[in-house]
């Protein structure tokens, strides 16, 4: 694997500050925590896809020796959900179940065997209702409603119209439309879901340690569903083994574990199986996209019409946001004069979908980029030339009110075009081999928070004491993406001290300031800016103390490499420790804070749903994928990837390169082999044998390039780096397959069976055309 960043940035970066703990096994994940004396919590799940709950009898389970608590929907009075406008889920189903695997009851017992036996003793009688596993069936006129307040089983319809669409299509030299279908996928994070909850009956306090990416939302939802005062609750995030959006909303098992702990008056540990982790789901929905594009002979886009249908599963979750993102992210990457978007988020009797890396934008990007490729072919244009004909010019504001302050897509295109040898190789490769390319982008944090409180988007506390160590307290959830390391670097660089002076304590609601969590790639931008602000505040105190000690004025003090002097090259110098001692006189331990708020002009358009997609800055990516296709068996191999990402500035190039590779790899999983499959609503994919993530055998060399466009508002100019490169992979691969064997696949993933079917159809079509020609002559 070649990582080309050092030459471009002149910096290598640092390993993650918790990296050694992880690779040596010292890091404690939720399932590693001390659970001495903890009861085992287990969940009973619905065997049916859609039914009314007629009768529940838990008396036999309660009577079993060793059972400490049994809960059902009757114990869950309050609905929850990540969006305040769409809370329609109960931790345990009440009255009705809506998917196979939905939690209906829970038990806490002295051990696993007893808990499982108790589950067997719970009697539930269902009256089955018609169940719908496809969007079209759920939307049929006579379909039974999953939620009575949502006619047509549509959770949210979106209709956005920007620019003059008719004029745009009229101005085009070529108008083409295609329909693509992207299978539902799952995050498949390696750590299964787990939660350790302890309720202290004497104080009435609850402590929950959990795999969450959104500690604050979990805190809120626990208070809501358990009807407790927030002040009585503490949530701690230990090390987390991957999120990717799986834990970006509060999940049923988290609330259930806490409820069991309270009911049992003690400590309850729950670890879901891999199957249950899959059933908890909340991932990228099956998506149908109908995309129509107008293009001029020179490759300029004239208009775009896009209809998206997402099969969202049984509950709302993030659904409204996902369907809005799918339309909003048509913008902010290219200059398109007119865009019409129609989105439908549909309920179905399947596990609820949610947010996944590249939230909302990935499947529309697939539809868009593959259609651009086909139209370029038809017009005899180079795919790179078409992208270059449609670049934005920063700073600019899109039609839907998104601000673009920095834009490095042109440089990204140059980098991968050069590195892949595109000009020399494209269209000149041996049979069955080809290159394909695509672009993508993503937000650096949602500029409008989900729960609007008027508080800043991010707050960081810094503590400095006699030891000269700086402790950064942040609520930002490090879930492996390296956010704690980013905080440490931001503080150290601002203070001008080494990283060894900084400690980061993260995600403990009793200690760290509230943070909205690890989602929409918000942490580097928002928390990074807050960290810099906090460090500047601390530095000001230190400079004042140094000035006093050196009998000078603060504005005369120069701080460099942890040494404070009067003027550049001044003789009198104070070490960092000396300045700290001076600053602590009369004051004692110092606490400062810094915060960051996205200005209102960045918070999106005024139209309904306009906040979704709004951000302080977009990352941009271009990538080239080289593939080989075996047209006898339909097997596809990815031979090489060249990818460039504009992340504004790489605060830690080593971590950025890792995130670029990770997002490319995850995009490859969706493109190549990952998909969920249901048999009458039963998840048949719910293991790592049948949910096929790529193995190391399928993983190509990835050559990653970092482009630094220096965003004017980003921390040190930085933007996000973890999601932007994902969405480009599926279209780049599918376009490459098209160039390799002349088959335009309209589905994801590009599995051998789908490909062989497409090849077969093409052969039949060619044979029919030949017959027709023979008949005519």
């Amino acid at each position: 694997m070649t990582i080309v960043y050092e030459a471009r940035t002149g910096r290598h970066g640092v390993p993650l500050i918790d990296g050694v703990d992880k690779v040596t096994g010292r890091a404690l994940y939720t399932a590693d925590l001390d659970r001495a004396g903890a009861l085992v919590g287990v969940i009973l799940r619905s065997p049916v896809a859609h039914a009314e709950i007629i009768r529940v009898d838990t008396s036999k389970a309660r009577a079993l020796d060793g059972v400490a608590a049994v809960l059902t929907g009757a114990d869950c009075r309050v609905a929850y959900g990540v969006l305040p406008i769409a809370m329609n889920e109960y931790p345990l189903a009440r009255d009705r179940v809506r998917y196979r695997g939905e939690p209906v009851a829970a038990v806490a017992a002295i051990d696993e065997t007893t808990a499982q036996r108790a589950l067997e003793l719970i009697e539930i009688e269902y009256r089955e209702l018609p169940a719908y596993f496809e969007s079209t069936d759920a939307r049929a006129p006579d379909a039974v409603l999953l939620h009575d307040n949502k006619p047509g089983n549509v959770e949210r319809e979106v209709h956005h119209d920007f620019g003059d669409l008719d004029a745009g299509f009229a101005a085009a030299d070529l108008v083409r439309e295609h329909r693509v279908c992207c299978a539902e996928i799952n995050h498949a994070q390696i750590e299964p879901h787990a939660c350790l909850a302890e309720f202290d009956p004497s104080s009435g306090r609850l402590t929950v340690q959990d795999v969450s990416q959104v500690v604050y939302y979990l805190h809120l939802m626990l208070a809501r569903c358990l009807e407790m005062d927030e002040a009585q609750i503490r949530v701690i995030k230990p090390f987390v083994g991957g999120g990717f959006g799986a834990r970006v909303e509060v999940l049923n098992f988290e609330i259930v574990t806490a409820m069991l702990a309270r009911a049992a008056g003690g400590k309850v540990f729950m670890q879901l199986t891999r199957e249950e982790t899959f059933l908890t789901h909340r991932s990228r929905p099956q998506t149908d996209v109908v995309l129509k594009l107008g293009m001029r002979k020179d490759g300029r886009f004239t208009a775009c019409a896009c209809e998206v249908t997402q099969r969202g599963g049984a509950y709302a979750g993030y659904g409204v946001v996902t369907i809005l993102y799918a339309g909003a992210l048509l913008q902010g990457i290219y200059d398109i004069p007119a865009i019409k978007y129609d989105g439908y988020r549909v309920y179905a009797n399947l596990p609820p979908c949610g947010a996944m890396r590249g939230h909302g934008g990935v499947n529309t990007r697939f539809a868009f980029e593959t259609l651009v490729d086909k139209m370029a072919r038809e017009l005899g244009l180079d795919p790179f030339a078409v992208r270059r004909a449609n670049l934005l010019r920063a700073p600019t504001q899109t039609m839907n009110g998104l601000m673009v302050q920095s834009y490095g897509l042109a440089e990204c295109l140059d980098a991968v075009e050069r590195a892949s040898g595109w000009k020399e190789r494209f269209g000149r490769m041996p049979a069955g081999k080809a290159l394909g390319m695509a672009c993508s982008h993503y937000v650096s944090g949602s500029a409008k928070p989900i729960h609007f409180t008027g508080e800043p988007h991010a707050v960081i506390h810094l503590k400095l004491d006699h030891d000269g160590g700086v402790t950064a307290l942040t609520g930002a959830a490090d879930i492996g993406q390296g956010s704690s390391t980013m905080v440490a670097i931001a503080v150290a660089e601002t203070l001008g001290v080494g990283l060894d002076r900084i400690r980061v304590v993260s995600s403990d609601t009793a200690i760290t300031p509230k943070d909205n969590g690890a989602y929409s790639s918000r942490i580097t931008f928002m928390v990074g800016n807050a960290a810099i602000a906090a460090a500047q505040n601390l530095k000001m105190l230190l400079v004042e103390a140094a000035a006093k000690k050196l009998e000078s004025a603060p504005e005369e003090i120069v701080c460099d490499g942890g040494v404070f002097r009067v003027g550049q090259g001044g003789q009198a110098a104070l070490s960092f420790k000396e300045v700290v001692s001076a600053a602590l006189i009369d004051e004692g331990a110092i606490s400062v804070k810094g915060s960051f708020t996205c200005p209102v002009e960045f918070q999106g358009g005024k139209h309904r749903g306009g906040a979704v997609g709004s951000t302080m800055g977009f990352s941009y990516a271009a990538q080239v994928v080289e593939t080989s296709v075996d047209d006898a068996t339909g097997q596809v191999s990815v031979d090489k990837v060249w990818v460039a990402l504009d992340c504004g500035r790489a605060i830690n190039p080593l971590a950025v390169a890792g995130q670029i590779e990770g997002s490319v790899w995850m995009g490859m999983g969706q493109a190549l082999c990952e998909e969920t499959r249901y048999l009458d609503g039963l998840a048949a994919h719910a293991s790592f044998l049948d949910y096929r993530m790529p193995t190391i055998v399928e993983s190509p060399a990835i050559e990653a390039f970092i482009v630094e466009s220096k965003d004017p508002n980003g921390p040190f100019g930085a933007k996000e780096a973890s999601e932007g490169a994902l969405a480009g992979f599926p279209p780049a691969l599918v376009s490459a397959i098209g160039h390799a064997i002349g088959v335009d696949l309209l589905e994801l993933p590009a599995t051998p069976d789908r490909l062989l079917e497409a090849i077969g159809k093409r052969r039949q079509k060619a044979a029919a055309a030949a017959r027709k020609q023979r008949a005519a002559s």
């Binding site: 199986t273 068996t633 048999l679 039963l682 044998l689």
Partner: protein, 322 residues
């Protein structure tokens, strides 16, 4: 949704005779690597009151290579086949098939006997207890309906071992130990086409070894799967070919993953004397498509498995003949 194993007694015999005696009780199962059995026990599709662990029996773990043949112990780990010099020299196709099995960590403990006696697999069977109960069980386990072919009489779970097709093409013989002593039979007689009971072994019988003799000139194995590691075969094709004066003298095609048992394609003797040209390759393609009739036991389409098996058979014959 338990993942805990029920209590089980594990016996660790040192000899084949001890093992056979220990396995005589109802409810006893042999275990070696356990890469298939333990997963199935955790899922509740296989139960055992006693596990007879044969991984410590030295007599099962030898590979003896002779001038023109080999005897491979049932307890030989798959990884040893991959790296064995004698096997690589005489029967590279065995190593070729072995290296496609699962992943390196599995191959270190999984055995030849385990792979030949692998339980059949199906998307309706290899699921959790909760899943199968929610689906009304199935013919192979506790139920009376095969969800793959609900109107049929039998279970259609597919055999998925990778060694069998190569060994069938090699005309291998297996030696079996049981309470009545030892017996030998052709490998093909180990199997019958019934997903619920695909092995002809009597209760308590143990596969001791496999004997192969080199009778043909060239062999090859290719496995169709979605990923290059871990996955079971969607189809596996082994071809053995001997050419004399550019004409077919002997041709065998062993198939796996396509039915409840591994089998040799029938009727290939009619191709003896033919040149390997486009027409012949088309006939092979058609013959495999006709004989390979996979059912919907995997998430990948059955039709695909049939087409891919035929394409691979055709390709391997062409390659070996060239």
């Amino acid at each position: 949704m338990s993942v805990e194993l029920a209590d089980v007694v594990v016996a660790q015999p040192a000899t084949i005779e001890e093992a056979v005696a220990l396995a005589a009780d109802a409810g006893a199962r042999y275990v070696a690597g356990g890469t298939d059995l333990i997963v199935n026990m955790r899922r509740g599709v296989t139960t055992a009151a006693r596990l007879v662990d044969i991984s410590g029996i030295a007599a099962l773990k030898t590979i003896v290579v002779e001038a023109n043949g080999a005897v491979i112990g049932g307890g030989v780990e798959i990884a040893r086949l991959v790296g064995h010099d004698g096997i690589a020299r005489l029967f590279p196709v065995i190593a070729q098939a072995a290296v496609t099995i699962a992943a390196p960590a599995h191959r270190n403990v999984a055995t030849v006997g385990g792979n030949l006696c692998l339980d059949t697999r199906c998307i309706y069977y290899n699921q959790s207890e909760w899943w199968r109960r929610s689906n009304g069980w199935c013919l192979k386990n506790r139920g009376d309906t095969c969800h793959v072919a609900p109107r049929g009489e039998r279970c259609h779970a597919a055999f998925s071992g990778d060694l069998a097709p190569a060994l069938l093409a090699l005309d291998a013989e297996v030696e079996i130990a049981g309470s009545a002593g030892r017996r030998r039979m052709p490998l093909r007689d180990l199997y019958v086409e019934d997903g619920k009971a695909h092995l002809t072994l009597a209760p308590g019988e143990l596969l001791v070894c496999v004997r192969v003799t080199r009778k043909m000139d060239a062999f090859a194995y290719e496995k169709i799967r979605q990923r290059g590691a871990i996955d079971y075969p969607l189809a596996g094709v082994a071809v053995g070919l001997t050419m004399r004066e550019r004409r077919i003298a002997d041709l065998r095609i062993g198939l796996t993953g396509l039915a409840s048992y591994p089998f040799l394609a029938a009727g290939l003797e009619n191709l003896v004397g033919r040149e390997v040209d486009d027409d012949l390759l088309k006939e092979i393609d058609r013959a495999v498509q006709r004989q390979a009739q996979p059912m919907r036991t995997t998430l990948a389409a059955a039709h695909y498995r049939r087409l891919a098996a035929a394409a691979v058979a055709r390709r391997l014959v062409a390659r070996l003949a060239a």
